[in-house]
């Protein structure tokens, strides 16, 4: 391994020499390690394995294949690692990848703690990092850096999409069921602000512990509030259990549930009978147009399930990165990042998307409603599109950003 470190050091020294010598030619690009190496890091077996997991690795490989498999006649390799939702595992793997294995770009990385830890490493080692898996908006605020792109979504976009659209369609009074940790609080605060700004009112909130086994008691409190909309500011198993209990206690008869972070895999595990009628914000859905359907079916062939928006975002990230390397003529991160912030992103995931100075990838978001079992015609036919949230309105405006890279 020592030898590998040495060789990468020599290579990067040579690279900086050549770069200093003059701009590299685009046709015969300069690549560190004579190849481009893409690292997919995520949770392969834990809580988020169905959202990203092995499916993200497959998505990255699909992107490489669609790019042509080679860049400047040199190979593109995809490596994968399981961070087990442990920040120390994720951060040390990222260090090792950058230091010893010549990985040029890391993608996915769900779980905020790991996502932020890897962003720190990417900044220190000056390599590209596309986060598609984490929700924490800290990645483009307090913790932002020049090498990190937050690609798919964040708590602001989720809150904004669902909150605003629901108030506009008449859901004026809200009650929140909030997971009692930073993610839940952020989601609740952001949504409450949006609701109030749009003329709605927040009647109250109840905070439940993370991974609570039973939600009936919290739902009873939500029911007693008589709010029209129950906002679920939680995720994963907590959301699923809240929805189940809401059905059991007849809450869905008079009140509407709004999921603030729901993945298609959650709906798949809930079943349409239980989930029907819920409103949610999605960054991408496989059944929107011919292009997305084609991608979805290709993915399905391999993974036996339809892609989540995270997996589609991984595909798009890898493709976007490779295009930028090609355009920049080098895999030197500074050059690639400069190129990335110039280019428009047009692929199956996003139309006219672009990457801002704070690292935020800005693209359209979608307000979806879960279909009833009768409306669903085929497997994975789960959502109907209620509203497109235009890119400019979907994400936190730069004027509110706490990112030190933004000069005001």
């Amino acid at each position: 391994m020592r030898r590998k470190i040495l060789s990468t050091m020599i290579q990067s020294a040579l690279l900086s020499l050549t770069l200093a010598g003059g701009p590299a030619l685009a046709q015969s690009g300069k690549l560190s390690g004579d190849m481009v190496k893409i690292g997919v890091m995520n949770d392969m077996s834990g809580l988020y394995a169905d959202i990203g997991g092995p499916g993200s690795v497959e998505a990255a490989k699909m992107a490489v294949a669609d790019f042509g498999g080679k860049i400047f006649g040199k190979p593109i390799e995809v490596v994968a690692a399981d961070h087990q939702n442990k920040p120390d595992v994720g951060a040390s793997k990222a260090r090792e990848w950058f230091d010893a294995q010549g990985v040029d770009m890391i993608v996915d990385v769900p779980t905020s703690s790991v996502g932020i830890a890897v962003a720190k490493v990417a900044n220190e080692k000056k390599r590209a990092y596309f986060n598609t898996g984490s929700a924490s908006k800290a990645l483009t605020n307090e913790e932002c850096n020049p090498y990190t792109v937050h690609y798919a979504y964040d708590t602001y976009a989720l809150a904004n999409g669902t909150g605003k659209a629901i108030v506009e369609t008449g859901g004026k009074s809200w009650f929140f069921l909030t997971a009692d940790y930073a993610f839940g609080h952020a989601l609740e605060q952001d949504t409450a602000a949006v609701v109030k700004a749009a003329g709605g009112q927040v009647l109250g909130a109840v905070r439940h512990p993370l991974n609570a086994s039973d939600f009936s008691s919290f739902l009873l409190q939500a029911q007693a509030s008589k709010a029209q909309i129950i906002g679920l500011a939680n995720a994963g198993g907590d959301t699923i259990n809240s929805v189940k209990a809401a059905n059991e206690f007849g809450l869905t008869k008079n009140q509407t549930l709004a999921g603030l972070l729901i993945f298609i895999s959650d709906i798949h595990s809930l079943g349409l009978k239980t989930a029907q009628g819920m409103l949610l914000t999605d960054a991408w859905y496989w059944d929107m147009n011919d292009e997305t359907r084609k991608f979805g079916r290709r993915f399905f062939e391999k993974m036996k399930r339809m892609p989540s928006f995270d997996q589609a975002a991984v595909y798009s990230s890898v493709l976007t990165y490779l295009k930028a390397v090609k355009a920049a003529g080098t895999d030197d991160a500074d050059a690639v990042m400069a190129q990335l912030k110039k280019a428009k992103i047009n692929d199956v995931f996003a139309k006219n998307g672009y990457i801002r100075q704070d690292g935020r990838m800005v693209h359209d978001m979608y307000l979806m409603q879960v279909k009833s079992p009768e409306e669903s015609k085929y497997p994975w036919d789960y959502f109907k599109l209620k509203k497109v949230i235009p890119a400019e309105q979907a994400f936190q405006p730069l004027s509110l950003s706490k990112c030190p890279l933004i000069k005001k």
Binding site: S45, G46, D50, L220, Q221, G237, I240
Partner: protein, 295 residues
């Protein structure tokens, strides 16, 4: 409307009822642990994993074999119990002469294996299991809207708990069992097959966990993690109760369910922690637990 500390009485009654539902699970699981502990002197760390297995057996038999809820209620405990007997015969029985801690470590390892395998096979997002038709719908109790299924959980688990208590305290088999717990060597000398009793006890204890798992399947999410989330709370319940008596563990389980339910009204953030606070308090005042005997 009358209020208690600013909370409407109706809401309070509702929460008490729900506390009882959760308490039923605690009671059944801590009862299983108590029975096993009494006989084998082993804290069965695999209890949560076996509870999870019960839920999965219910799900699998519906999904693959078309066996419905009611048969699962019988099938799952039997299968889990048989697995328990296998575990006891192949592994646990070699540990009785050693420090009891080895039993804890072994079952901890087993819990990891079972949980890991299910995670590998089924992922972690959880699987849906619908409430049987007979129990769909709800009662209107006036002060709350109680789903029939929740009522069934309380009813069936209380019945099982009481039957267990009756069997151990009032029948001949129970008398042998108690004798074997007190003095295995002497009981063996009276011609009672103590190893057989031990084996059956372990099987029965984990079958209770399997039964609880099936009960939980429609109400909660069937997920590989459902056991490990619960087991530590049950441990705290066991420490509080002290495992001195069968009835004690049932009462402690129910009581803590209710305390937890009330916490969810007054200070919901602490509802996952309140059990541990009670534990510390009990330890300070009664180190042997509420129903425990000092050895």
């Amino acid at each position: 409307m009358s209020e208690v500390f600013g909370v409407p009485l109706q809401a309070l009654l509702g929460q008490l009822m729900l506390g009882l539902v959760n308490g039923s699970f605690y009671a059944m699981l801590s009862l299983g642990l108590a029975v096993i502990f009494g006989m084998l002197n082993i804290i069965n760390f695999a209890h949560g994993a076996l509870y999870m297995m019960g839920a999965f057996i219910a799900w699998m038999s519906l999904e693959y074999l078309g066996i419905g809820y009611w048969w699962s209620l019988l099938l799952a405990p039997v299968l889990v119990g048989m697995l328990g007997i296998l575990i006891e015969r192949s592994m646990l029985q070699w540990l009785y002469k050693l420090d009891h801690l080895y039993g804890l470590l072994l079952t901890f390892g087993l819990a990891l294996i079972i949980e890991g395998l299910f995670r590998d096979l089924f992922g972690v997002s959880g699987l849906p299991y619908t409430i049987p038709e007979e129990l769909a719908g709800a009662f209107n109790l006036g002060f709350m809207f109680l789903p029939k299924y929740r009522a069934w959980i309380v009813l069936s688990s209380l019945t099982v708990c009481l039957l267990t208590w009756f069997m151990i305290e009032k029948t001949r088999l129970g008398a042998y069992l108690r004798a074997a717990t007190e003095n295995p060597r002497l009981t063996q000398a009276f011609g009672i097959n103590v190893p057989l009793m031990v084996m059956l006890t372990y099987g029965f204890g984990v079958a209770l966990a399997g039964f609880a798992g099936v009960l939980a399947a429609p109400a909660l999410q069937v997920s590989p993690l459902m056991g490990s989330n619960l087991i530590i709370v049950v441990f705290a319940v066991v420490v509080i109760g002290g495992m001195g008596s069968i009835l004690g563990s049932i009462l402690t389980g129910l009581g803590l369910g209710v305390i937890e339910g009330l916490t969810k009204v007054f200070y919901p953030e602490a509802s996952a922690t309140v059990v541990f606070f009670v534990m510390v308090l009990v330890l300070l005042l009664r180190p042997a637990g509420l129903f425990g005997r000092e050895k």
